[in-house]
């Protein structure tokens, strides 16, 4: 065991170092910055043999990664917030061309009002970009996911870029004890990149990122959709294999915690899961039947797993650190859509909180659970509730 006391950004950088990308295209943006700083140091001290490119914008950071990946090399880049949106145009380019780029996104609020702190408005904006989206809970999972991400993205049945999301500051800047696996172990799990039939080569030249008109376009998109959906089995299998090699795994698409006999559960993504877990433990001690589902992947969306996990639960709350203006939280919409296939759907409530870095406290979560338990008892509760705010719904 090689334990280090590092923050989430450092953990990502350690994971990337162990994954040995050929090229890193780097552009700084808070709160991702420490990751690209640390990677530049690894390249300098030769603990990482990568080409480090100082690109002039996030748009070019991803464009550069597209170039790297198109010739069959392993690419890494990182971004956050407005930077991710500035890249947005390039995201479907990469996914449509089936380039297995791995990108870290430090989840951060979007302007305006201008704000550097964490919420998940940025990545939710790009749920339709064709990228696999995973949300990690802590620094250890962040490191481990960088290694898993390349295995998943480069799997010949997946061939899809992957966005690893970390909550800004709460995760990127918080120090934790993290186990750094050995290079030998990582090498045994993550072999050098091989890109069958999909990259440029001298022996077999190709044209990539082609045009396809109305005669072929849909077929390309449907193949992409099928592979994205089918990637669920690959994700699960790779996570299991990871557990065998490294001694820790993450339950694939989602993790259920104390759900089996629960009356009410909260569905969480990212770092809020840790706090919620503690609240569940505390409430269980006083006999309240609560639990949680940690949703790890939003694309592909694990709808079948969610249905199975909540079918006997009376009340389900979804925590959204985002709003799809004019409607509701985005994860709430997605979960609801999955549940319409159930014979009897639970009472569904949306807890919107944490916007622009606003705290979600243990008390807020306990309040949410109590509200869900009331709902489970047949007492009417609002469909959408804001957490820890001065104003409520008009």
């Amino acid at each position: 065991m090689n334990n280090k006391f590092i923050n989430g950004d450092d953990a990502v950088a350690e994971g990337v170092r162990l994954a040995r990308p050929h090229v890193i295209s780097a552009y700084p943006i808070t709160p991702q910055t420490i990751t690209v700083e640390r990677l530049s140091e690894f390249v300098e001290d030769k603990s990482l043999d990568s080409i480090y490119m100082h690109v002039e914008s996030e748009h070019s950071a991803l464009a550069c990664a597209i170039g790297v990946s198109s010739v069959g090399a392993r690419a890494f880049t990182a971004t956050s917030s407005q930077g991710l949106l500035y890249m947005a145009e390039n995201l479907p380019y990469a996914s449509g061309a089936r380039l297995p780029i791995v990108m870290m996104n430090a989840n951060r609020a979007l302007a305006t009002p201008w704000n550097i702190y964490g919420d998940q408005m940025d990545s939710m904006f790009l749920l339709n970009s064709g990228w696999i989206q995973v949300y990690v809970e802590d620094a250890q999972e962040a490191l481990d996911m960088m290694i898993q991400a390349y295995r998943i993205a480069e799997d010949k049945n997946v061939m899809t870029p992957m966005m690893v999301n970390l909550d800004g500051f709460v995760l990127t800047h918080t120090y934790e004890l993290v186990d750094i696996p050995s290079q030998e172990l990582v090498d045994s799990f993550l072999p050098p990149i091989t890109m069958p039939n999909n990259s440029m080569s001298i022996e077999n030249p190709k044209s990539l990122c082609i045009s396809a008109g109305n005669d072929f376009n849909m077929e390309f998109k449907i193949k992409q959709e099928n592979d994205m959906k089918n990637s669920i089995s690959t994700i699960e299998q790779i996570d299991k294999e990871f557990e065998k090699v490294f001694g820790r795994g993450y339950n694939g698409m989602l993790e259920e915690y104390m759900t089996k006999d629960a009356d009410a559960i909260l569905i969480t993504t990212g770092s809020i899961t840790g706090t919620t877990r503690i609240v569940v433990d505390n409430m269980r001690k006083i006999g309240k039947k609560v639990g949680l589902i940690k949703l790890r992947y939003l694309r592909p969306f694990p709808d079948e797993y969610i249905r199975k996990a909540v079918e006997n639960i009376k009340s389900v709350g979804i925590i959204d650190k985002n709003i799809s203006f004019g409607y509701e939280g985005t994860i709430f919409t997605n979960v609801n859509s999955a549940l319409v296939h159930l014979e009897k759907t639970p009472n569904m409530h949306n807890f919107i909180g944490g916007l622009g870095g606003r705290d979600i406290t243990k008390q807020n979560l306990e309040d949410a659970f109590n509200s869900l338990l009331l709902s489970a008892n047949g007492e009417k509760q609002d469909r959408i509730m804001y957490m820890n705010v001065r104003c409520q719904n008009d």
Partner: protein, 298 residues
């Protein structure tokens, strides 16, 4: 360096079966450039005529590796490809970007600047047909004064475009790039020599080639080359190089061919009045005075 002429360039077709219009200056420039750069070349092309005519599934016109890039990203994608190839240890290759005037001087300027700043091992071509031709002939930053386009109409109040061409060659040179040149499809041997020079350059190189467009300029397809030659002979375009921190004018005619002949052959300039032509000439003379005063002349 081999002496390049019609006998020494390769016979292999490297830009095969594209769908460009008859008389397309850009396709001529790319075809010749590819013949000199050879089959171990990785090409990046943004949105524009050349990507539209060469990558329509299932018909691929490049027989070497090629990719359509996001519009703003020719420089960045080419840089990424070059870095990826270097990291993989794939040697003796060339990475080239072929962008249009809009893709270079407008939306792609940032990525081009970044690539030159890093001195990445790429060759960047600006295929300048002086407007956004693929989208239907709209004004770009390289559209000359007095040009009628679909977004710079000529009428009672305006003579078409009211701005001069953005000074791309000097903007690129101001980065102190390893090698930069201007060219014209009217002077193909000069162009081929410059492509060869770019091919042999260590670091970033840039070639800005004037490539007439029969559709957008409004002239018969068979005069592309002679029109591109006239652009140089009238002084409205120039052949130059930048290397080792110095500018060199490759062609310095004692007298210019009259601009009226060049302009009036094209429907985009047919509306020009005498005073508009005076504006064009005055701008040309100012530029040439500067070049003759400050640049090396051959």
């Amino acid at each position: 360096m081999i002496k390049l002429n019609s006998r020494t360039i390769q016979n292999e077709e490297l830009f095969y079966g594209h769908k460009a219009c008859g008389g397309c200056g850009e396709s001529l420039a790319i075809r010749l450039a590819m013949k000199i750069l050879g089959e171990r070349t990785f090409a990046a092309l943004p949105a524009g005529c050349m990507s539209a005519v060469s990558f329509v599934y299932p018909n691929m016109a490049f027989t070497n590796n090629a990719i359509i890039t996001p519009f703003a990203s020719t420089g960045a994608v080419a840089s990424g490809m070059a870095a990826g190839l270097e990291a993989l240890g794939i040697k003796d290759t060339h990475t080239v970007g072929f962008a249009g005037d809009g893709g270079t001087a407008d939306i792609g300027l940032q990525a081009l600047s970044g690539a030159i700043d890093r001195n990445d091992q790429i060759i960047y071509f600006c295929n300048d047909n002086e407007a956004y031709m693929n989208t239907g002939i709209q004004k770009s930053g390289l559209t000359p004064y007095g040009t009628k386009t679909t977004t710079s109409p000529a009428g009672k109040n305006l003579p078409g475009s009211v701005t001069m061409k953005k000074n791309m060659f000097e903007i690129v040179a101001a980065h102190d790039i390893a090698y930069a040149a201007t060219a014209s499809v009217g002077y193909l041997e000069d162009f081929m020599r410059k492509v060869q020079k770019a091919k042999d350059t260590k670091g970033t190189s840039y070639i800005h080639i004037l490539a007439p467009c029969p559709t957008g300029w409004g002239y018969p397809t068979e005069i592309t080359v002679s029109l591109a030659k006239a652009a140089v002979d009238t002084g409205l375009w120039y052949l130059a190089e930048y290397e080792n921190g110095e500018f060199t004018l490759n062609r310095n005619p004692k007298e210019f061919v009259p601009v009226e002949d060049y302009l009036m052959k094209q429907s985009r300039f047919k509306h020009l009045k005498e005073n508009d032509i005076e504006v064009i000439k005055a701008h040309r003379d100012k530029k040439w005075n500067m070049m003759r005063r400050k640049w090396n002349t051959k």
